[in-house]
Symmetry: C2
Subunit: 356 residues, 2 copies
Amino acid sequence: MADNASSKPRLLTGDRPTGPLHLGHLVGSLEARVESQDTHECFIIVADLHTLTTRPQKQFLDDLPRNVRDVVLDLVSAGIDPAKATIYLQSGVPAVYDLSVFLSMLIPKRRLEQIKSLKAMAVAAQLTEDAMTLGLLAYPVLQAADILMARATLVPVGQDIEEHIDVARELAMVFNDLYGEVFPLPQAKLSRTPILPGVNVGVGGTGTKMSKSLGNAIYLKDSKVDVADKLRTIDPDEKHADGQSPLLAYARAFCAPEAAADLARDFDAGKVTGSALHDAVLQSIEARLEPIRQRRSELDSETGLVEEILVDGTIRARTVANRTLQDVRTAMGFESMWSAFVDATSERAKARKRPY
Amino acid sequence: MADNASSKPRLLTGDRPTGPLHLGHLVGSLEARVESQDTHECFIIVADLHTLTTRPQKQFLDDLPRNVRDVVLDLVSAGIDPAKATIYLQSGVPAVYDLSVFLSMLIPKRRLEQIKSLKAMAVAAQLTEDAMTLGLLAYPVLQAADILMARATLVPVGQDIEEHIDVARELAMVFNDLYGEVFPLPQAKLSRTPILPGVNVGVGGTGTKMSKSLGNAIYLKDSKVDVADKLRTIDPDEKHADGQSPLLAYARAFCAPEAAADLARDFDAGKVTGSALHDAVLQSIEARLEPIRQRRSELDSETGLVEEILVDGTIRARTVANRTLQDVRTAMGFESMWSAFVDATSERAKARKRPY
């Protein structure tokens, strides 16, 4: 790509800013993102427009400034380096709206209706089928605009939204086919990390994956005491229908593989008490959380730093997006049409000035 | 409205630039627009983005520059005064894309699926239900963005798309309700003029309304000979199932009311021959077309004039649209969020510079 100064492949990833990031994000995506920084040019989207697809109400929008700041703070605290990665605010990149409108003309409505995750999102947001908005149906198209504006080729996602990346790839192919080669084809990169269950509080409890909206999350910004209290809500003897223990899922996510296996075996054999298992898991979690918490506190206290990171990243993303939009409009013919009209207007203005 | 310097109410109207304007446009909307110029502040959209909803293929986009120029030329030739009305190119107003994305979050998909005219558009474009795009479903939302960006209160339309204006009004109400009063509520103004049938050529013939895509149109730019030839394809004795004569429909549209009634009576009584009826109707049409044709030729020969009219209008529309978008983003909270981030960033930059 002409605008890709780096020779590294582009990767796009990110989060809807519905609240601070939690342990599920840390093991599910954050640590992988930190690793990707050296091998890929990373675009990390703070996807505030996407929150409108299920939560357009003002009370949710009023929470955005704090949530956006929290997410950026969490990202950098967890090791994302703003000098390497571009962390940006989706609503601050105007070209994405244009691209989204253009792409909407290239995909059958039926194709989007087949996507199961959209129905799941509606259910999770307690929307009836009748209340599902056009914006929610168009959600994968807006995501495609995010991905394609950055000309990203790799998009790490959970299996549940893998199909959204299929949509982005299909749109890239249809566009290239109709108007000429503009977009590289993006591929999903499935997360290998098993899903972390929640703690035993909130609506979700241990029976669902950790999620802010389900109220069963341990946040990166939680104090050591809060983390310990939340972890202790999980009964060490609890087992899901599939025989898996939620607490041991944490052991596998946070302890070294051998240590996790030892803990599981010793707990089953009665050599380790439930309390000792809690302590061991807590220690491994804290080994990861403590440095993040430390960095978070330092970054947070430096006035304007988090904001500067986001504003700089958004301006960088804008430049990239504008360049892509220019290429899109050129391929479709809108750019040459407008330029020709402006040129003819200028010629006329010049001709008018000749007598002076 | 703060941005409405004129005290006249705003009116939005326009056309998809799929070809030059014809007699159906002249009597159906153009003459009413010319009258509206003195009572309303008119925004006249050349809706090139709307053509993408059914014709995104490159061969259609390649025709846009010529079609857009033709439409502007026809508008001004028919009496639209660029000093009074704002003629603008839809794709050249970036804020409309943003607004369209925001509005898509506020309308149930089901609401749009109920709109009959969208299915009719799909059928007319020979699209199967499976091929109907997201963009076509979202067509009334993009129209709402056009109308609401201009804060238009009046939208002249044919009965077939009256429901689109209902959608725009519903979106204005939902937006105002959620985020505070930003939009005046637009109303449809139904055309009182009966629909003009086509001439007896093309796919449509006299049995459907005059339409470029049906190949049965007399264009404003047609020569006098062409107009006469096309008009003579209509059999004076032809009557539709409802007893109406297509040729007499032209008499009613173009002759004075009394003269039209006389012609109908005398033709029925055998006092006027078919050939004389053709001649009388042709004379009335030419009385309207000849001055238009004359102006069209003058305007067309002045290099850059048509382009200048469109570019000036588009820049005016941009200014209005940007102001509306600013109000929308402010009401939703996006503007204050971004401003706060930028302000914090600036403060930090200032603090860094203090030592110098």
